[in-house]
């Protein structure tokens, strides 16, 4: 990864966080889901969001690339403020990779076309260049031989690895993972986490919503515990997962160890 170069050329400034969220308020109708959340993520940092379901983890993640609109607060990605204008959104989204719980591969396209479509349509890369990049990434996630397969013929773990390759093909500044292993059979979780760990080791900026505590321990620079529409605990994996200070943090940890 060429972190040094991108820092210089792509704005955001040295020392400024790559993702900066301030006072985020998100409501679904009358229901408040996020109540004044602040979050800074530095370039190269791996941040893991944990917490009970319904705490707003996925919603927070989806706000970063504008899949959810916030009612108050501000979001900056690589120095640019997120505003809800079609062209600007498309531009900023092309710099943010997103991986979903349900994989969401395009079922009518071959694996290779899943990975080349946006490279061509959004970045304007020539077909051959897009294919070369796709092949390279498929090799990286260990699926080079599946280029011409259709998603329906792949296992869940394979589909999710393709989805990661699809996001990486856009050369994103940051990768968002929304419970990437929650829809997988237990024996397929490992292969996806392996790819994610490698990515983290290579210096990719990652924000990961997950219930995989092993991943949080091994790969996270920082763990955030969300509960009650807010971030209630924040620190290194050891701090948050071994010695939480907040009541909510302790309660969540008890829940985890009991199961």
């Amino acid at each position: 990864m060429t972190t040094q170069e991108t820092e210089q050329s792509r704005g955001g400034g040295v020392g400024e966080p790559l993702v900066r969220m301030r006072g985020i308020v998100k409501k679904f109708g009358e229901t408040v889901v996020l109540d004044g959340v602040d979050l800074d993520v530095d370039r190269g940092e791996v941040v893991v969001l944990i917490g009970p379901s319904g705490a707003g983890k996925s919603t927070l993640l989806r706000c970063i690339n504008g899949l959810e609109r916030i009612q108050a607060g501000s979001i900056h990605v690589a120095g640019e403020e997120l505003v809800y204008k079609e062209k600007h959104l498309n531009h900023i989204r092309s710099r943010i990779g997103m991986v979903f719980q349900a994989f969401n591969l395009f079922p009518h396209m071959k694996v290779i076309d899943n990975i080349t479509m946006a490279q061509q349509d959004v970045l304007g890369r020539p077909r051959q260049e897009a294919r070369t990049r796709a092949t390279e990434l498929l090799e990286r996630v260990g699926l080079a031989e599946k280029a011409d397969a259709y998603p329906d013929n792949l296992s869940g773990g394979q589909q999710q690895r393709v989805a990661i390759a699809r996001a990486l093909a856009m050369d994103p500044e940051v990768m968002l993972f929304d419970e990437p292993t929650s829809a997988l059979d237990p024996e397929l979780v490992g292969e996806v986490l392996d790819v994610m760990r490698t990515l983290a080791d290579e210096g990719m900026t990652m924000i990961v919503v997950t219930h995989e505590m092993r991943f949080a321990r091994r790969a996270a620079d920082r763990v955030l515990l969300m509960a009650d529409k807010q971030i209630v605990e924040e620190g290194t994996p050891e701090q948050v997962l071994e010695n939480p200070t907040s009541e909510r943090g302790k309660a969540f940890l008890r829940e985890l160890t009991e199961h």
């Binding site: 690339n65 899949l67 079609e86 959104l89 498309n90 531009h91 989204r93 092309s94 710099r95 943010i96 990779g97 997103m98 979903f100 349900a102 969401n104 591969l105 395009f106 079922p107 009518h108 396209m109 479509m117 946006a118 349509d121 959004v122 259709y150 998603p151 329906d152 989805a163 699809r166 996001a167 856009m170």
Partner: protein, 217 residues
Amino acid sequence: MNFFDYIVDTAPLFLEATQVTLRLTATALVIAMVLGGFVAAMSMSSVAVLRWIATGFIGIIRGTPLIAQIFVLYFGISEILLLQAFWAGAIALAIHNSAYIAEIIRSGFQSVPKGLNEASRSLGMSRLKTLRRVRAPLALRAILPVLGSQFIIAVKDSSLVAFIGMTELFQTSRNLAASTYQPLTMYMIVSLYYLAIVLVLTFLVNRLEYRLSAHRR
């Protein structure tokens, strides 16, 4: 004269009438697809008034008999505008089918999982590009089989245009039934013609469906 003699004897008249039926149905369906597309777009619009208009249109058309629609158009409109039976029939069939086709198109688009739209938009694909590359192709695959059966219904429904004096397949069988005093034979023969058209249509739709379902094999 046995049944087969009648088939041979009536073939010239029926074959000519088949062309009329095919022209009539094809014209009606082309218009119905365009109109149905518009109505479907309106019914999925974020503008409430457009949705109401679409819902109202679909409700009225599906809630009234086709034969009444044909008569209203032929006898009603021809007071103001001299409409040939062919065009009155084609337009009535088109309007009628457009309501059903609009519903087929709408449900086709709604069958595309929301997550695929989000995945495409997350890659930076615009609304329009997402429609062209993801939503429309997937909706088409859902729409096609249902659209095929709507086309089959349209072919058979076109027989109602006989009642405004169009000499299409069904009217031809009525004429022959009267002139030969062989109603049973003539209605059986005309049924064979409809059956043949429907079988060819089914074959064509199946082939298209097969070609579009590469991802499921």
